[in-house]
């Protein structure tokens, strides 16, 4: 059974379409969507509808901080341009779409896999997993062997041995990595809708339960169109240019 895991879609229709196509050709049978469906991009309504459709087909989804912000209104600490995007996004969504975002759970479990947007120790606190330190904190907070999360936009793989030694690894796209079950693993697939590691191609990961192997993928997509729509919508110009340079 192959599960495709997407995080931080950020209203980027072009990227999401490309990733879904790619994952289908790679044999994805299950879908997990790790939150932040909106914010930054110009197609929030389309992306939310796409997520709802996947949920109807059995996908598991969790809430991201941007989804929550759009539902509740911008948080006080948000930067002005982020706040502007939140208000704009809210105006693009109808009541049903907003209700859907409001109904998202903070975490989901499937067997020994945990899905959460930011971290396992306080999912609603939205703290980032920026290093081994936070990865270990998150892995200690769950009994699950495998944690999948988003929030950080760069693909990364952490592991924790039973002796308490943690390792981190920047994956090579397209290579299947075995994740043996006597360690704990924390997987950050990377952002589908707004990659930030210098490579503009959309990120996602595929977990194959038959042999506990994980493959990180990068999918090139039409970021020019996605960027043009951001400019047309009068959203901050920086949000368009960063899609092109991947930062």
């Amino acid at each position: 059974m192959k599960t495709a895991l997407l995080a931080d879609l950020h209203a980027n229709r072009e990227a999401v379409e490309a990733v879904l196509d790619h994952a289908r050709t790679q044999g994805a049978q299950r879908w997990v969507l790790l939150g932040d469906f909106v914010g930054y991009g110009a197609d929030p309504a389309w992306v939310v509808d796409q997520v709802r459709e996947l949920v109807r087909q059995g996908a598991l989804v969790v809430m991201g901080n941007h989804d929550q912000a759009v539902v509740r209104g911008a948080a006080p600490h948000m930067r002005p341009d982020a706040r502007y995007v939140v208000e704009w996004t809210r105006a693009q969504l109808d009541a049903a779409q907003l209700d859907f975002l409001a109904s998202l759970p903070m975490t989901q479990r499937h067997g020994d896999q945990l899905y959460v947007h930011a971290n396992a120790w306080a999912p609603a606190g939205w703290d980032y997993i920026q290093s081994r330190l936070e990865a270990v904190r998150s892995l200690h907070a769950t009994e699950c062997r495998y944690t999948f999360c988003g929030h950080m936009h760069e693909p990364k793989l952490y592991n924790l041995s039973s002796t308490g030694k943690a390792g981190d690894f920047v994956p090579t796209p397209g290579v299947a990595i075995p994740l043996p079950p006597h360690r704990q693993w924390l997987v950050i697939p990377g952002s589908a809708g707004q990659p930030r590691d210098g490579n503009p191609a959309a990120c996602y990961a595929m977990f194959d339960e038959s042999d506990s192997s994980l493959t990180f993928h990068r999918v090139p997509y039409d970021h020019d169109s996605a960027g043009a729509k951001i400019l047309d919508a009068k959203l901050p110009q920086r949000l368009a240019s960063r899609l092109e340079d991947g930062h």
Binding site: S161, K165, A166, G167, F169, P171, I177, P178, H182
Partner: protein, 519 residues
Amino acid sequence: MDPKLYSNSLGYSGAGGQNAGSPLAPGMVIDRFELVEKLHVGGMAHLWKVVEVNHQGDSRLQLIMKVPRIKGGEDPATIVGFEVEQMIMPMLSGRHVPKFIAKGDFTRQPYIVMERIEGVSLRPRLDEAPLAIDEVIEIGSRVATALHELHRQHLVHLDVKPSNIMFRADGTAVLVDFGLSRHDHLPDLLDEEFTLPMGTGPYMSPEQVQFVRNDPRSDLFALGVMLYHFTTGERPFGQPESVRGLRRRLYVDPVPPRTLRPDCPPWLQEVILHCLEVKPERRYQTAAQLALDLQDPSQVALTRRAEKLQRSGAIKTFKRWFFALGAEPGQERAQVTEQLDRSPIIMAAVDIDHATTELLQQLRETVRRIVLTEPGARLACISVMKIARIGMDDLVDADGRSRHVKQLVALKHWARPISKALSLEEGRLTFHVLEAPDVAAAIIEFAQRNHADHIVMGARGASTLRRLLGSVSSQVVAQSDCTVTVVRAAGPTEDSRPAAVAAAAASAGRPADATVDRP
């Protein structure tokens, strides 16, 4: 057995369930493998001969099962090393590793089933050292070839030593035991687990002593230690058992092999000491470059290393010790294959006798540009003397020798502007005159044997000649495994190009030269 250095301060409680139940015995079936007999009891693992129950595939393949020895669940070195091997072996392929068949994880019974390589390792030969010089060269060249292949697969072995090297019946070297290895595409589980350098004391490279685990040139250092030992009967750095003892190799250089063995040729000492340089950037840059030297000793550029008859004096050693104190290498995360990419072997095939002056110039200019872009590149210039299939004896006579020398002189003359312009040092430029009835086949074979990354050659100029004789370049383009660039002298385009080259030129969008890239 060589001592392995590990931290052993860590308890490992996480491998619960391993070796649970009855101990392994002949006749037992684990997953689909039946245990036949115990072949070997090692410090870290047991080896069992196994057969696959209800086997459908190739039954000629003999199988062994490697089972880690876990002492009371308190042995992180064994467990993590075995875990690493379980992750890495399925990623490797080819004749220089045992074929991976299956694995079992630590939640039940940990094992790896793999192809059994018949025979014994190189370990017993150590006791017979010093070996004949020819055998040392043969071992070095075969092992370097195997290492290059592994490095190309993104692997650094990090525990190259005689007991981890075996040979197939046809002489192909096979590396075994990947428990300390590092693969670029996999998390390095060992990197974080231990606080002492990992490796086998006598063979560990200086950078391994300093916790660097991603440099393929570490394996060349270990191979240098082996070749030193096989040549002289002595270990170049003894058998240290403390980190302090290991660090001595950062500043104390080994006794030159010729001091211990007077009949060691200077070129072999050059090769061995070149492998044993403290700084990786002063060693051979790839195993392929080492193999090239071992296969053609006449082309080894001799430096002061070849002439040394005693180790460096106290003052020099003290200086090195002083600088080694502070100089911990920076942890840049380069990939194994990047090192190979930076150090390609470029092969220029030059038709000295028949090519036009314009073509020779154009060829030289193209080669110069390619070599210029890669400061780590080596350039091998070759020329093929066509000989008849029969009557090969002609070549051993005086006339044959003089033709050979003439070609060599002409080849060196051709390359002179390149060597001057680039001030190529330390054997980065070599010359080879091959004798063969089939020019294209000789070029292809040389490229394969020496792991060339890129062949640059001229197209035959006159279309009449090409019609009569066929095109050498199109055969090389079609049949070699590496990138081939076919160079044409500027001039009017001809219609009668060989098809393969014309197609390549069209796809590359360049009318004058054509390049075919291969991974």
